[in-house]
Symmetry: C2
Subunit: 339 residues, 2 copies
């Protein structure tokens, strides 16, 4: 593994690919690798791109990657597609279109179908981002379907989050996107040549306005609920009534239109983050979220080791048959784990 990491750090594609495979398939090996290369991370600009299926998100990511590449930065792409937790990787066949990016050593693409849980996906995504980072990719794009909260979380661990919309969502947009819009640093209306673009644009502007949003990101709110054992210390919370106004861009990704402006804005946002405390804060938020995820996974593993499967199944059966209530069941399992 050490040798692999050394080679990956020097940007060797085969080593990077092998490390990623390792991280996807072998949790123990992943742990060793990440522990080893972690100190080389922290340089890359991590960009999350999220939007509904059919929004042309992948094409957009493609084009943005090419544009960033023209600006002499190396680009890593992690495409997360959890839309089919059951049928696996079949949907990713269209990644073939990524062919026009191949042959360039400065771009590396990794698609991930769901490997079951979004928790698992989040870990794997985090790890792959680190591999890219340590291997010297200056920009890392994370593409997610962004339909539910969990996917939004994956994207919102990025430094810069793009939310992609399309025209023609009409009035429904108001119910659909409230939550997702609020993680956006940059809004992109793709397929902007379609009918209804003007209307959707107005709706998006109205929503941003309604929220009183001019770029405020509620980092503390992104750590929501049960998952958060570790809170942001009060002293470290900044007043986020800061200066970033969330802009809206129109693009026609399939024709490469509007991409340059988006790439410019991504650069602007990076500069904005790095000029103040925001960069550090987002790093804190990312670390906090990752640690919580790992803690939970670790705890469930430990439980599985300490309490035999037959005992666990007996408890589940007792709950299903109403001989035991779920809270008392958890008490019992906890007690057993302590002995």
């Amino acid at each position: 593994v050490k040798d692999l990491i050394e080679q990956a750090k020097r940007g060797r594609r085969r080593a990077i690919a092998r490390l990623i495979t390792l991280v996807e398939n072998d949790e123990k090996a992943a742990q060793i690798a990440i522990t080893e290369l972690y100190r080389n991370t922290g340089k890359a600009h991590i960009i999350g791109i999220t939007g509904p299926p059919g929004s042309g998100k992948s094409t957009l990511v493609n084009e943005i990657a090419k544009e960033i590449r023209r600006r002499k930065r190396k680009v890593g792409i992690v495409a997360v597609d959890p839309s089919s937790p059951f049928s696996g990787g079949a949907l990713l066949g269209d990644r073939v279109r990524m062919r026009d990016l191949a042959g360039d050593d400065g771009i590396f693409i990794r698609s991930m179908a769901s490997r079951g849980s979004l928790g698992g996906l989040a870990r794997t995504t985090n790890d792959i981002v680190k591999i890219f980072d340590a291997a010297g990719f200056e920009s890392v794009l994370i593409e997610t379907v962004g339909a539910g909260q969990a996917e939004v979380d994956i994207a919102s661990t990025a430094h810069t989050t793009l939310v992609v919309e399309t025209p023609g969502m009409g009035d429904e947009i108001q119910t659909i996107k409230a939550g997702i819009l609020e993680v956006a640093d940059i809004l992109v209306l793709n397929k902007a040549d379609r009918p209804g673009a003007e209307k959707t644009l107005r709706a998006l502007r109205a929503m941003l306005h309604m929220d009183g949003r001019s770029g405020r990101r509620f980092t503390e709110m992104r750590h929501h609920g049960d998952l958060m054992a570790v809170e942001i210390p009060e002293g470290e919370q900044t007043d986020r009534s800061d200066d970033w106004e969330v802009p809206i861009f129109e693009t026609i990704a399939i024709e490469g239109k509007g991409i340059k402006a988006v790439a410019d804005c991504i650069e602007d946002h990076e500069a904005y983050l790095r000029s103040g405390d925001e960069w550090k804060e987002r790093e804190l938020a990312r670390s906090r979220q990752e640690i919580d995820q790992l803690l939970q996974a670790r705890f469930m593993e430990q439980l599985a080791t300490e309490i035999s499967r037959s005992v666990r199944n007996k408890v589940v059966l007792a709950v299903a048959e109403r001989r035991l209530d779920p809270y008392s069941a958890v008490d019992e399992l906890f007690k057993r784990a302590d002995n």
Copy 2:
């Protein structure tokens, strides 16, 4: 609380409402209440209804509830709307339309905006379902937006899961819905008078066919990944090449059209489940999932008690600044929690 539970069991609306409020706002009280009433649960038929925003899902739920009610069963409704984790309950204003259900003691509706995390929502939803169940509601409908995996999970803990689609999703449907379709016991094409209905219907049929699905539900796959410490023991896994063919219904919920057929089918599915091992299996799956969720929540609470906030923040900071890698951080927090 005991008195409240006694009254709720006798179906007193005010007691039910107060119990629900308790469960939503006070985790400790929830635990006591649920422990107390759990043995009275297990009778209700739990029906999950999930679909994208704008699919007319709420109207459909409304109409189905009225139809079930006509069949002399009491109906409880839990409407989960996590689409806006930030702006809270505002979107639920349209629940006013539920007014025509009011005044009937046999129907009880509870809307929940997001209270932060989907984990929290899942717990609260589970608890409210139990309250309805213990209070003698024979049918409990859980309505979720069903955009992401987590929401799908909430719905798929039901005995019977309806997935709602609308016409006009065109070819995109193939990428969108693969995962969600696979939790469906019953498919409903709502707004079936809209253009493109025939095409969408064909697409849905093709997908079901493509999957080789004739009603198979992969219970074991629904317990995916990290969350599952407790697995289905091999002996208990049944071969799910069983007899339930997933049917597709066309409805125009806003005009009440097609609802009876759906209600009939819901009854059929219940009968089907109760006639074999499926009912018991779904109860096992529900219990398993709930126990896992509670275990994780409990663990994070315990961690928060045992390790001071300042220690946790120091660890997070060290990780953010690359002085410590996340895996070692988790090791350290774990060690501290053990002492």
